[in-house]
């Protein structure tokens, strides 16, 4: 995919250098000369691609995970976003001194400049529509990767990520995904119970993500004059299927990942789904509710329901039913009850910070010379959610193979920052084609 950047790649090297000079002089005066150079010899240089709240959080976790990690390059669509993140990160008492941003890049091709800037690790935290392109480029360049979930918004994107992960494996490049629950000791313990047979043979799984709207679309009247379609869409990315994947793929993908975790990442046979939108989309094209029924081998059924609406019943729960008991996740410590309601197992102990754990694993594996590269669920769990969306949008029964092989691409190619890009309206089951 070729992309055209908004401006020429811009850097804030000069201004940043001036800022850092003062700090460096202070450091030289106050400390022995170990850190006399621009960077310590065994520093891991980190590049952040996508500087919103989540990307900034990932950078904080990376700099916390490794005491000699340094943030050296950042990218986003405009200078204001980058500046805000850089200022925040520099302000940290714990790691601010290791925020040494030599390169800041703006625009849709900024990711490539970060990758080319000499970093060791990249943190991919843009809207997910860009992730396949960013992952592919990062792996090609041999960079270790933290990739936020989901990893794509359409089937071709998932295939690109799978190919990138395969290549990462042969190149010994780490890929750790932002499917955070896999790094949560409470849910890990629950899954161990299930996998060791504590609830018997699996019968059904009911999984919910009933919550509030995340980033509602502003009315068209608030669209600034002269702003291109692409820029307007990227700035309101949550409301466009090509950028966000829809609510099911962007948010309830956490449920999809738990569903796949239970199945040890073996795929379903197929899915049937319903979905729609109850409140005006304001020009966006995502649904605000879905319910997907997945069929797995041996007649095992999984029901995944999500909603993003105000004023409704809310919950994010998993009820995993087996012949010998039910596992309940969500709303407290995971617990297993027998069919007659007796407590059979409950998580005991302290829950640890799963977001920090992701980076502890990533950096620990790089330092150990054994880059972590087992998160293939990054692609498969994303596809599980995408196939649910495809089933809802098309109104058809969708098989795993059909979804995996779908040629329908939602992401424009090339993406022109200044370009026109009309998105289709809300999908209409029975008419919309996505397989």
């Amino acid at each position: 995919m070729t992309v055209k950047s908004k401006p020429e790649p811009t850097t804030i090297e000069r201004r940043d250098f001036l800022k850092r000079t003062g700090a460096a002089a202070g450091a030289l005066a106050g400390f022995p000369g170990i850190i006399s150079g621009q960077t310590v010899t065994n520093a891991l240089k980190v590049g952040l691609i996508g500087c919103g709240g989540r990307g900034s959080g990932a950078a904080a976790q990376a700099l916390t995970a490794d005491s000699q990690a340094e943030l050296t390059a950042v990218a986003d669509i405009d200078e204001a976003i980058v500046d805000r993140a850089a200022t925040r990160l520099r302000g940290s008492e714990r790691f601010g001194a290791r925020v040494k941003i030599d390169h800041a890049f703006f625009g849709l091709d900024a990711f490539q400049h970060v990758i080319d800037s000499g970093v060791d690790v990249v943190l991919l935290a843009t809207p997910p529509g860009f992730r396949p392109q960013h992952m592919t480029a990062a792996v090609n360049a041999g960079k270790h990767i933290f990739a936020e979930k989901p990893c794509a918004t359409d089937s071709p994107g998932v295939r690109a990520v799978l190919a990138a992960q395969k290549l990462a494996h042969t190149k010994d490049v780490a890929v750790v995904s932002g499917f955070c629950w896999r790094y949560n000791n409470m849910v890990q313990a629950a899954m161990e119970q299930v996998h060791s047979g504590a609830i018997g043979r699996l019968v059904a799984h009911y999984s919910t993500y009933y919550t509030n709207p995340v980033k509602p679309m502003p009315p068209e009247s608030e669209r600034p004059a002269g702003i291109s379609d692409i820029e307007w869409q990227v700035r309101n990315w949550y409301n466009f299927v090509w950028l966000c994947g829809d609510s099911l793929v962007e948010q309830a993908v956490h449920n999809a990942d738990k569903i796949m975790w239970v199945m040890k990442d073996q795929p379903p046979v197929g899915a049937v789904a319903v979905g729609g939108r109850a409140v005006p989309a304001n020009g966006g094209n995502i649904y605000d509710h879905f319910e997907v029924n997945y069929l797995f081998p041996n007649g095992y059924r999984v029901f995944l329901a999500n909603r993003q609406a105000t004023g409704c019943y809310n919950a994010t729960h998993d009820y995993l039913m087996g012949t010998d008991g039910t596992l309940l996740l969500g709303g407290g410590r995971p617990r297993i009850e027998t069919p007659d309601g007796q407590l059979k197992w409950q998580f005991e102990g302290e829950e640890y910070d799963m977001y920090q754990r992701e980076h502890d694993v990533l950096f620990g594996s790089i330092r150990a010379g054994k880059p972590a590269n087992t998160d293939l669920n990054l692609a498969t769990s994303t596809l599980l959610a995408i196939m649910g969306r495809q089933a809802a949008y098309t109104g058809q029964q969708v098989t795993w193979e059909a979804s995996m092989n779908s040629q329908v691409s939602l992401v424009p190619d090339p993406i022109d920052w200044n370009g026109r890009h009309e998105v289709p309206g809300l999908a209409i089951p029975g008419r919309t084609k996505e397989i």
Binding site: R54, L89, T316
Partner: protein, 351 residues
């Protein structure tokens, strides 16, 4: 809505300008725009305060243009011994010391999701049909990334998972909506109201009649316990439900050691984000911690599941037992004190 007594209204006009504000030092710099908003709300409150007969009495409020109501209990001026003298009481409840309070009203139950969701989401608040410039300009929570009721129920249940900053801003919003001045209770006000004139360490009557705690709060869906609809247990002597148990409640104060000297209307102003004092214990606590004197110090781990930088100033992602209720001082303070109650200035987490 009923209004204060004429005597109080008179006192208000005098005291507001002469009396020193609640004890405490000046905090962070005042934001001019925010102060202007506070002054506009204060003007609305003064304009709407009508003479009424009798002394401060309990009353019921309906949030204008909604069906959400809450009771206001009258808490008389008075003096009490704050903290515990019991030999085995936790160290942070000592030394017991004398506190004197002015009169105030307090919400008879914890703030419910019914009210709080209107603050979180404009479309739930009936504000688009009747625009109100004063309310429109107020700071409101961003949309949460996690689901914040955790399936424990909305209608009639206490709101949870909010920061102290969010509770302060809710108080400001509710003040603008109703034309009555609300804020979080100070820690001393909270304990005074919880005791309701009782001087013993453990108030009389079986705890189960008054409080949801770890031993009695489980439901078929939440075997580990959960919050329950507000005011389903007996009130205390001053008409306040669920002061002990159900959800813990934010106070205005920084959590700090007690000192022995007597105090009048004390307010331990916050100078850092943690810890703030949280009171009352919850459905998740053992009965021994569900008391009028037990103190809990807020901590950053209550936001562990917030992956962002900065962490949200609105949500405590890991505090499913934490809510609040508000007080209305009988005497309207000056604008600066209102500003300080609604703007702690220390809402950002350290990182």
């Amino acid at each position: 809505m009923r209004s204060r007594a004429p005597a109080l209204a008179l006192v208000l006009l005098v005291v507001a300008h002469l009396a020193p504000s609640l004890a405490g030092q000046a905090g962070s710099p005042v934001d001019a725009g925010e102060m202007a908003a506070v002054e506009r709300i204060r003007a609305r409150i003064e304009e709407r305060s009508k003479p009424a007969s009798g002394s401060p009495a309990p009353y019921t409020v309906t949030i204008p243009n909604t069906t959400v109501t809450y009771g206001m209990a009258s808490v008389p001026a008075g003096e009490f011994q704050m903290g515990s003298a019991a030999p085995d009481a936790p160290a942070d409840e000592k030394p017991q010391h004398t506190v004197r309070h002015d009169a105030f009203w307090m919400q008879t139950h914890e703030v419910t999701w019914d009210a709080y969701l209107m603050f979180m989401f404009v479309d739930q608040a009936g504000e688009s049909s009747k625009p109100d410039m004063l309310v429109d300009g107020l700071s409101r929570p961003t949309a949460p990334h996690l689901e914040m009721s955790f399936g424990r129920g909305n209608s009639g249940f206490p709101a949870i998972s909010m920061t102290q900053h969010a509770a302060n801003k809710f108080a400001q919003w509710l003040s603008a909506r109703t034309g009555e001045y609300y804020r979080l209770p100070t820690e001393a006000e909270w304990e005074y109201a919880c005791r309701a004139g009782d001087t013993t360490a453990v108030p009389p009557g079986p705890l189960d009649d008054y409080a949801w705690h770890r031993g009695n709060s489980s439901t078929p869906a939440f075997a580990d316990g959960t919050y329950h609809q507000v005011a389903t247990k007996k009130p205390n002597a001053w008409g306040l439900h669920d002061m002990r148990g159900n959800v813990m409640e934010w106070t205005l104060d920084q959590y700090a050691p007690y000192t022995p000297e007597p105090k009048e209307n004390p307010w331990v102003r916050a100078t850092r984000p943690y810890p703030h004092a949280v009171r009352g214990g919850s459905w998740n606590d053992e009965p021994a911690r569900v008391t009028c004197t037990a103190r809990v110090a807020s901590e950053p781990s209550w936001k562990m599941r917030d992956p962002q930088l900065p962490k949200s100033v609105w949500y405590m992602t890991d505090a499913q037992w934490l809510g609040f209720r508000l007080v209305r001082p009988a005497v309207l303070p000056n604008a600066e004190e209102m500003y300080r109650a609604w703007n702690s200035g220390v809402e950002l987490d350290p990182y």
